[in-house]
């Protein structure tokens, strides 16, 4: 069963000069137990998409979609508050820079306790305090923090980034979510710590059958730890498929360029050769191209590309391009 089924979601920003379409008709599906990566440069709208799913965007942003189903329940018919209530029960999110996501004047233990909902505790209300504390200790152990006493009484500014990210994962786990959205969880860390966090996420996926939507700009990490990948560029859906499909035969010129630009992904480069990269840079919100937004930079662009391409599906490998690389593989 599809956990999350989003079709043609658009997010517009209200400005004094009109509405700017930051995210333009993106589709996304998640199955149970799946680890999907959402890849794109900074400015591609991946964080916006995640925030729109969770529902933490303020009123300057307008979200509308053709289809937005959570576990076969249609969420577009509900008001934003109702939507948020249903989603936050089963979906959790962790952010970049975890130390800024914790309240600086409260101890970590208190914040964890806050995340433990009342319904999960049985027993009378004088027993609840102790039960809460036990639950918090269990959560800390689940994310690999053995020294829970010290962690309980510390303030966020006393902890390292990786530690804070574990605490954030613990807070996310408190609700026993079915889907965890990880928005660039390791962007602020060293690589050794990055590996620890990813291993933790992978073990959570295997042991608890929890789906993970991993948002990142680092292609290498994403291809290692995910089963399926969706690629976005400048707010538009570009390509989606299993990791092997995308890695072995990218259909979209942008995905090809991404793979080419990371030296580890492409081992056929000869010594001292120039790395290929697309010329130009991601367009600003004020000057978004019409049609396919990669148009100005794409080496294969032609006149047809001023009209937005329709999604083509080849055995589960979807691509949004008029001149895809399918026939060249």
């Amino acid at each position: 069963m599809n956990l999350l089924d989003i079709r043609n979601l658009s997010i517009e920003l209200k400005t004094t000069d009109g509405n700017i379409r930051a995210v333009d008709r993106v589709s996304l599906t998640m199955k149970e137990g799946e680890v999907r990566g959402l890849v794109g440069e900074s400015g591609s709208g991946k964080s916006l998409l995640a925030q729109a799913i969770i529902g933490v965007l303020d009123e300057r942003w307008i979200v509308h979609a053709d289809r937005f189903h959570w576990r076969n329940q249609d969420l577009m018919l509900l008001t934003p508050e109702q939507r948020k209530n249903i989603i936050t029960k089963d979906v959790a999110m962790i952010f970049q820079e975890p130390s800024s996501c914790l309240d600086p004047i409260k101890t970590v233990g208190k914040q964890l306790e806050e995340a433990v909902a009342d319904q999960q505790l049985s027993g009378f209300f004088w027993q609840r305090k102790q039960q809460r504390k036990t639950e918090v200790v269990q959560l800390l152990h689940k994310v690999g923090i053995k020294n829970h006493e010290q962690c309980y009484h510390s303030y966020p500014y006393q902890l390292t980034e990786a530690f804070c990210q574990r605490v954030m994962i613990a807070i996310a786990l408190a609700k026993k979510p079915i889907l965890l959205i990880a928005d660039e969880p390791t962007a602020a860390m060293e690589s050794k710590n990055q590996g620890q966090i990813f291993r933790l996420l992978a073990s959570l996926n295997q042991l608890k059958h929890m789906s993970i939507l991993l948002i990142s700009h680092d292609l290498e990490n994403v291809t290692h730890w995910t089963q399926t990948i969706t690629v976005m560029y400048s707010g538009q859906f570009v390509e989606a498929g299993t990791t092997e499909q995308i890695f072995a035969h990218p259909f979209h010129p942008y995905t090809q360029a991404l793979l080419d630009s990371s030296p580890n992904a492409n081992i056929l480069i000869s010594a001292k050769a120039k790395l290929t990269a697309l010329s130009g840079s991601i367009p600003l919100l004020k000057h978004l191209p019409i049609g396919c937004r990669l148009g100005p930079r794409c080496p294969r662009a032609q006149k047809e590309c001023v009209i937005a391409p329709k999604t083509q599906n080849f055995h589960g490998h979807q691509v949004n391009c008029h001149y895809s690389l399918k026939d060249e593989h």
Partner: protein
Amino acid sequence: MLIFTLRRLTLFFFTLVILSVFAFSLCYLFPGEPIVNLTGRINDNAAQLAALKLQYHFNENVFFQYISYLKHIFSGNFGLAMNNQLPIGPLISKLLPATIELSLVALLIALFIGIPVGFIAAIFHRKPIDNTILILSMIGYSIPVFWLGLIAILIFSIYLGWLPSSGGIGLIYEIKSVTGIQFIDILMSDNPFKWQAFRSATMHIILPATVIAIAPATIFIRLARTAMLEVLDTNYIKSAQAKGLTFFEIIYQHAIRNALMKMILHVGLQFVNLMTFAMITEVIFSWPGIGRWLINSIYQRDYTAIQSGLLVLSTFIFIVHILTDFFYAALNPIARGKRFGSR
């Protein structure tokens, strides 16, 4: 924490030294005989003046004069006021608490009005109520406090007759002055008409305290609004929303405490600003405080009174400043590290 305390105390000590040197030098800067300016005895003849000079070590060089001046200050001898030859020390000890009382009440009013209104303006940001609050606070900030006092007397005392317009308490009540703060003295005395006196004192303090409180309240509104807007924009509020906490839980549990923390240092600094407004308002409402006395003395060129009054007032202001700094650092462990250094 210890090092921070030591540094602050050293700074305080040096500031006091500078202040006392400045106050001492005033007796030379004012026209007239320095010894007369220092002690206030304008009617003494030459022999008495010579005796005084000996007492204050005026025959030796300036440094010893300064030390002897300090000794006299510490023993409570501030000299006599020039215009009525009354000793200044006891006078100040009655006047200063009255001003403190007025300022504290005004501070409380300003806090109770300013902070909630500022928070409301931030929570309803960009909606009409935010703009209304901003406009009202700008108007409140621009009204000169002395004019506001006069208009308040015109409306509330003369046209409506609700509140009295001068004095600290009704003239018929005789309260023994122990601490100088009227409310405490009333509660401590055993006058049979205690509660009427209390009521009278309250009626007398409402109008001046509110007039003083208006301008600082608008500053607090602005501070609270900025602090709350900053807090609402942070990552931890977003992740609290993602956690699923309700709006009110977030505001109450996280936002208010963080916003208060951000603005507490500024609140403490506003107290001295408030005291300045209090001094002007005392003149209009004939409140028996140090402001009215000091301004009268300046107008009448009573140099001894000016000198002692300035010393006491500025020392008090610095004590409040240091205490606020200290209090803020004790509350907020992050602030202790970065307050210093010559950059």
